[in-house]
């Protein structure tokens, strides 16, 4: 269950997310869907120049075409599901559902990842089964529980039948509609969605008043006792909050017996040939979804492993994890704090953290400081809802496990350090002097 949204925000969302719009009508989804400026405090210009593929340069006409396609529900079999159905700009380019709802009200197995900063992802999807934004487009279009087109040819035929598109494709690509060009146009639009102007980015750029003291303490915990930085990697040239890798943190382990499931997956894939489309179907439509990256690599160490997601705009992209199983940021941090859920494939970096309540609050304050200005109001409301809920409702909290479960309190879990030392936000390099 997700928390009830306030009336104001519901109205806002309803007016902003337009279910269907025609090119000529151009009612459009409003300014929140416009290409973002590159003049953002933390914009990584060098990295940006690297990630635009040479065979698909950004042009205004291509971006406009891609945007039209992104909001066009005619790309789906029943004409009701567009890209923004699950990647709504007003909801941080997600749908704020645990797992996404596609054609004929079918629910998939995965939580919709955001388009914001997706251009910097080395691979796309939770399990990295697509190597680029272009390659990602085909998955949802032809997946039977998402947009439900029989084939990419059907999608091309449908787009061809719309006169305005024919002309636009001629102008942009110099020939008739092909699926590869549909992919290029949508990817070009998605590459305009940047999020690097949060209060945190301004803080890093030199404004100490941009974030609260609580958020500063959270940033220190993020780098230290919380060990978050190890996977949600941030540095000035790659300010993405992801290591681009895949980790098993025990999310699927609640209800999956991995070994028989993995055998079943290998069996299914060996019979079907295991092409991209087959993997997509297993990932979205079956219980094998919980195997994560394993479906792509077939390597045991990737069982139950999912991509490290960016942390920006978390307060408008709830709920959390690949299956949307966590409602609040506190629940999510509780999951890490107790050392994930034990399973034979748990990543070796996932250990009990011994974070106190105050430290968790600071960490959430830091995460809240990663919100882009256009979402500030919505994020504030979500923060208030989550905060209120976290005072009484904490299903994932396990203080004993978080403290090293030896009954001796935090920081005392034996000489080999299952738990970090008490956190200070002083620079450790300056401690222990005269």
């Amino acid at each position: 269950m997700k928390p009830a949204r306030t009336l104001l925000f519901s109205i806002l969302a309803a007016t902003v997310v337009v279910a269907s719009f025609t090119l000529a009508g151009a009612q459009g989804p409003g300014p929140i869907a416009d290409p973002k400026s590159e003049k953002q405090a933390g914009f990584p210009a060098d990295l940006y120049s690297w990630v635009i593929p040479p065979d698909n340069p950004q042009t205004p006409a291509k971006i406009a075409l891609g945007k039209a396609l992104f909001f066009d529900d005619r790309l789906s079999a029943d004409g009701k599901i567009s890209c923004d159905h699950c990647h709504a700009p007003a909801k941080g380019f997600t749908d704020q559902l645990p797992t996404s709802m596609g054609i004929r009200a079918q629910f998939g197995q995965r939580n919709a990842p955001t388009v914001l900063n997706a251009l910097f992802n080395v691979t796309q999807f939770w399990d990295g089964r697509a190597p680029s934004l272009e390659a990602q487009v085909q998955g949802p279009v032809t997946n039977p529980v998402e947009m439900g087109m029989k084939s990419t040819d059907d999608a091309v035929a449908k787009v061809k039948a719309i006169p305005e598109y024919g002309k636009q494709f001629q102008d942009v690509f110099g020939h008739d509609v092909t699926f590869a060009d549909i992919e290029r146009a949508i990817a070009a639009y998605e590459r305009t969605q940047l999020a690097f102007d949060s209060p945190f980015d301004k803080f890093i750029a030199g404004d100490p008043s941009a974030i609260s003291d609580s958020a500063k303490r959270g940033w220190s915990i993020f780098n230290g006792k919380g060990r978050c930085m190890s996977c949600h990697a941030w540095n000035p040239t790659q300010p993405l909050f992801t290591d681009q890798k895949f980790h098993n943190i025990g999310v699927s382990a609640h209800n999956a017996n991995f070994v028989p499931l993995a055998r079943k997956a290998l069996d299914t894939l060996s019979q079907s040939g295991g092409n991209a489309e087959e993997i997509d179907k297993l990932a979205i439509g079956t219980d094998m979804s919980g195997l994560g990256r394993f479906l792509v690599t077939k390597q045991p160490h990737d069982i139950g492993a999912f991509r490290t997601m960016s942390l920006r705009n978390l307060l408008v992209t709830q709920p959390y994890f690949h299956d949307g199983s966590q409602v609040t940021l506190w629940d999510t941090i509780d999951h890490y704090n107790k050392g994930g859920v034990q399973n034979p494939y748990l990543d070796g970096g996932i250990v009990p953290l011994g974070l106190s309540e105050a430290e968790e609050d600071d960490l959430v304050a830091f995460l809240a400081s990663l919100t882009s200005p256009e979402y500030a109001d919505a994020a504030k409301q979500e923060y208030d809802l989550q905060f209120k809920r976290s005072r009484t409702n904490r299903p994932q909290r396990d203080t004993a496990a978080a403290n090293g479960d030896n009954g001796r309190g935090p920081g005392l879990a034996g000489p080999f350090g299952d738990i970090g030392p008490p956190q200070t936000d002083e620079n450790p390099a300056l401690l222990g002097g005269d």
């Binding site: 190890s230 382990a253 160490h301 399973n343 034979p344 004993a400």
Partner: protein, 382 residues
């Protein structure tokens, strides 16, 4: 929703919680009974055609030119797995190393087809205490395949092997398996450095557990055991492939860390007449392989921690693995499998956790690196 599955690790942690939190701790018999009931239910074989979950490559390589007539026609090849160097402390101290062993047990239990046996490569305990060995025995009891035990110096030097031998029997023994003669050695004897210094058992153990001190002596198989080995091999024809398990490497790699067997040349001389000899050793906690004459050496991974490569003496055939990620407890660790081929040579698979597995083919070693070179890692080592 499927019934909640519990791994060996989960069950261990629950049992440990019960013990530590002063609840009614299960005694060992009840614990195992509960386990048997749950594992029986969840491990029931699926009705699918059995193909290996770990994608075992069927070793059907043609015998290489150096092999000669191996005299192994019609003998079935077989696979065994290993778990090694778990360095367990008593259970109240930490859970880190326990988690790792449990993971290894889950790992070898997931193999399909199951290995013929699982070798434990030594250093079950960290400080040779009975409660450490008990904990290890309890964890290894969950392995579905038969377990063969080998002793390491950490198991031995607190009470000079009393507890270990009481639990697991003699430290050196041999058996025949599908046409291969298997020898398990106790290769971590040391010359007496403790009596003259009036050391307590604990001091002796701590000295041996130290890596880089001048006090302890070097590991050796020793005179008595070399005599035993020669006598054991006297009745084995030279065409029979030999599989030798040893905790120390049986060659001289790096003296300061005791990655070393002082009488290695004498042991190798005993093995020299045999056409195919594969030595599988523990102790070094890293990907390590070597070829000396007719003998292929292969180091096992640890479940506890990876050692860096030593500053000198690394065998030139070894392709170093990357430095382990210090954030990731399991990186650079794992377990492994060995496929013994019809010609008596052995292909080895390093089942690294959190990394792709690496296969080291016998052909690579016996050809001294001319063919079947394993892939080089992407990044620098240490």
């Amino acid at each position: 929703m499927a019934a909640r599955h519990k791994s060996v690790e989960t069950k261990y942690m629950e049992d440990r919680d019960a013990a530590l939190r002063g609840l009614r701790g299960l005694d060992r018999r009840t614990f195992l009974k509960v386990l048997a009931a749950t594992t029986g239910a969840v491990m029931a074989k699926s009705l699918m055609p059995p193909h290996s979950f770990q994608l075992v490559e069927v070793a059907n390589a043609a015998p290489d030119k150096t092999a000669g007539a191996a005299g192994m026609a019609g003998k079935p090849p077989f696979t065994f797995a290993y778990i090694s160097d778990s360095h367990l402390y008593q259970r109240t101290l930490n859970q880190r190393f326990v988690r790792a062993v449990a993971r290894a047990v889950d790992d070898v239990n997931a193999l399909d087809p199951q290995p013929d046996f699982v070798l434990f490569g030594g250093d079950l305990a960290q400080l040779g205490r009975r409660e450490e060995l008990d904990l290890g025995m309890q964890l290894l009891a969950e392995v579905k395949a038969p377990v063969k035990m080998m002793v390491g110096e950490h198991d031995w030097f607190y009470d000079m092997g009393d507890a270990w031998q009481e639990m697991f029997g003699p430290p050196n023994y041999s058996f025949d398996w599908k046409g291969v003669h298997v020898v398990v050695l106790m290769s971590v004897h040391e010359k007496d450095f403790w009596t003259a210094r009036k050391m307590t058992p604990a001091e002796r153990m701590h000295t041996v557990a130290g890596l880089d001190n001048g006090i302890q002596s070097r590991f050796e198989v020793g005179d008595d055991e070399r005599k035993w080995l020669a006598a054991d091999l006297a009745k084995v024809p030279h065409t029979t492939p030999l599989l030798v398990f040893s905790h120390s490497p049986l060659y001289k790699y790096y003296r300061n860390w005791n990655f070393w067997t002082d009488d290695a040349e004498q042991v190798q001389a005993i093995l020299k007449p045999y056409q195919h000899v594969t030595v599988i050793h523990g102790h070094t906690h890293q990907m390590l392989y070597n070829q000396i004459g007719n003998i292929s050496f292969y180091g096992m991974l640890s479940t506890a921690w990876p050692w860096p490569y030593a500053p000198t003496g690394l065998p030139p055939l070894t392709i170093q693995m990357n430095r382990a990620d210090p954030f990731d407890q399991f990186d650079g660790l794992g377990d492994g499998r060995i496929n013994v081929r019809a010609d008596g040579l052995a292909d080895k698979i390093y089942s690294l956790w959190d990394r792709n597995p690496v296969t080291v083919k016998a052909d690579y070693l016996v050809s001294h690196g001319k063919i079947a070179r394993p892939p080089a890692p992407q990044f620098a080592s240490y």
